[in-house]
Symmetry: C2
Subunit: 386 residues, 2 copies
Amino acid sequence: MPLSSLPAKLKLGFLGAGQLARMSSLQAFRFGIQVAVFSDRSENEPVQFMTPFSTSGSFESVDDMVEFAKGCDVITLENEFISSDILKEVQEKSGTPIYPSPDSFALIENKLIEKQTFEAAGIPVTPYKLVKNESELEDFGKTHGWPFMLKSSKGGYDGYGNVTVKNIEDAKQAFSKLGGNNGEDILAEAFVDFTKELAVQVARNETGTVVYPCCETVQEDHICVAVLSPAPVEKIIQEMAQELAFKATEAIDGKGIFAYEFFLTKEGSLILNESAPRPHNSGHYTIEGTVTSQFENHVRAVLGLPLGSTRLNKPAVAMINLLGTHKRPAEADQITEALETEHGHLHVYGKVDSKVGRKMAHYTLLGDDLEETYKKATHVTREIEI
Amino acid sequence: MPLSSLPAKLKLGFLGAGQLARMSSLQAFRFGIQVAVFSDRSENEPVQFMTPFSTSGSFESVDDMVEFAKGCDVITLENEFISSDILKEVQEKSGTPIYPSPDSFALIENKLIEKQTFEAAGIPVTPYKLVKNESELEDFGKTHGWPFMLKSSKGGYDGYGNVTVKNIEDAKQAFSKLGGNNGEDILAEAFVDFTKELAVQVARNETGTVVYPCCETVQEDHICVAVLSPAPVEKIIQEMAQELAFKATEAIDGKGIFAYEFFLTKEGSLILNESAPRPHNSGHYTIEGTVTSQFENHVRAVLGLPLGSTRLNKPAVAMINLLGTHKRPAEADQITEALETEHGHLHVYGKVDSKVGRKMAHYTLLGDDLEETYKKATHVTREIEI
């Protein structure tokens, strides 16, 4: 049922306590909602510094999570680490609804089922095959060419669980490393010769669906370093991506916030690469960049509130991921230039320790021209050490 | 010293745990800063639901607050309930700096000293007199006319501590009620025949000063019901108000965020009515209405970070205070229309109990035309029960 009121002490529970739950929590607080958090680490998780209602336990223990869920009005996810079976059991035993629903999540947690689900909905996906042994690895290479990707069907995070293989020796080693010899389902995925990676976020619940602008995710070594919105591609491509993202969310009957990453091929077609049933790094720019952020629509969606406008606040938005530059106690240093820049917004995630390449913070700059805005955002953050 | 870095676990302590500290905390969290809160109530204060670092004690106990302050890197205020003498002692004994400084606060906590300070800086203030007895009350009425205001020099909050007196009988009664017979300093203040009430926020620290647009505060029965920005007055009046607010902040050597309320007289002159050394209800519209909110500049200012732009994000902003409509457990009801309105932003303060007239929430609408925006904001919030 759509919610038309916000009662005192309404409590939103997050399974996971990292920066995504943190940014959603900030929005929950704006609505006067209380936040409870369940983490598999006992301390120093970003959200644990933001609420008195913090629990730790195992993401594999139904009992731990049932206890937690009973104290909450609605549960939501910030990662894909908990299996849909466990989520379903937690929901049934606690009586507390979980959104996105375990049924939706079941359609995307396994990369094989995910691809089948989206293909069935008419959404182009990367050419793939479930590979069982050396000869199938070899066949895939012959058909689609080397290199290709091997992925654990159980998914991963930020490229973990994915391996690029250049030849059959590589492929055998990766197959084994990913657990292929121990019964894990391993997918081979053809390399797509793409010109850009695009992303679209979608919020959906019983009150409707809203689709964010199509943005570009700029990657270096498979890590997203920047996001540009709107994506510097033709309008028709943007709209195609938005349409596919809309269809994908329908296909899994999603309630919550979802993100979809696409390859734009040289021929100008779009292929769905990945999906995520949660706020996504590609949508951090929406905090200041759009009328309603992905985090606000996350909270609205899972509570059944009407969804907010996804319109851009300025013609151009650039978001720079500030990745750890040192292994040390976290410290955002040399931030003066970024803070002094008009329309620039710094977000630091409150992590206690920095590691090289770890997502520690981000910086969003709004402007009128995309290229200039990106250039300036890069420039004013270039000396930040974090 | 200006701060150029944000170290992990930097802790900002708030003396006071209401909605103002809450909204500043939300910004502190965005910078990865931890929030600790000291309240004179042991539970159910808005910020207490937002941090594991919550302490309660007395605002009159130096010891209670020293203990709290020792655990923080910087202390700031959300109210005017603690005397500057006590703040100074807390600062000295804990070694933790307090901003705005006790010295700045000493210049405005007492309404008599406040008026003298601002007069000395060339800022027009409401005609006033320290009244000591019945005959001085009578004299004031003769000189400035009835009715006039009696105010406890120790100040108040939302009109508490202020009494309008219509004749000498009223005046004697109020004088006694406010403690005039027990040695309290009581100020008589002439009624100013004003056409509008205006407000300006200023953030200032060692890196510079930024001044917000001049806004209008719309009052009903001495309670602010709406804020319109920019104020619908001539540009020259707006600039005069901004200039006076700038000068007032210089006069108290303020470090932090400050708000000033002015009367605009029929003759087009400005008179400073009140000042506040903290985020202020008149500046809530800045959360979405300006590039950098008063809460972000509050956090930046007290930490010594460079201050952010105060430019409006859209030509017109209207903020509606959502005051309690019932005495009941808090619940924001009938909010659908407000949430569905593009560029509308609902903020609920997380209070547990509602009382008629209590500040429970606010709603900000951005638009292109001030009158239309105000009309629409009023319209879409008209049925909210809270």
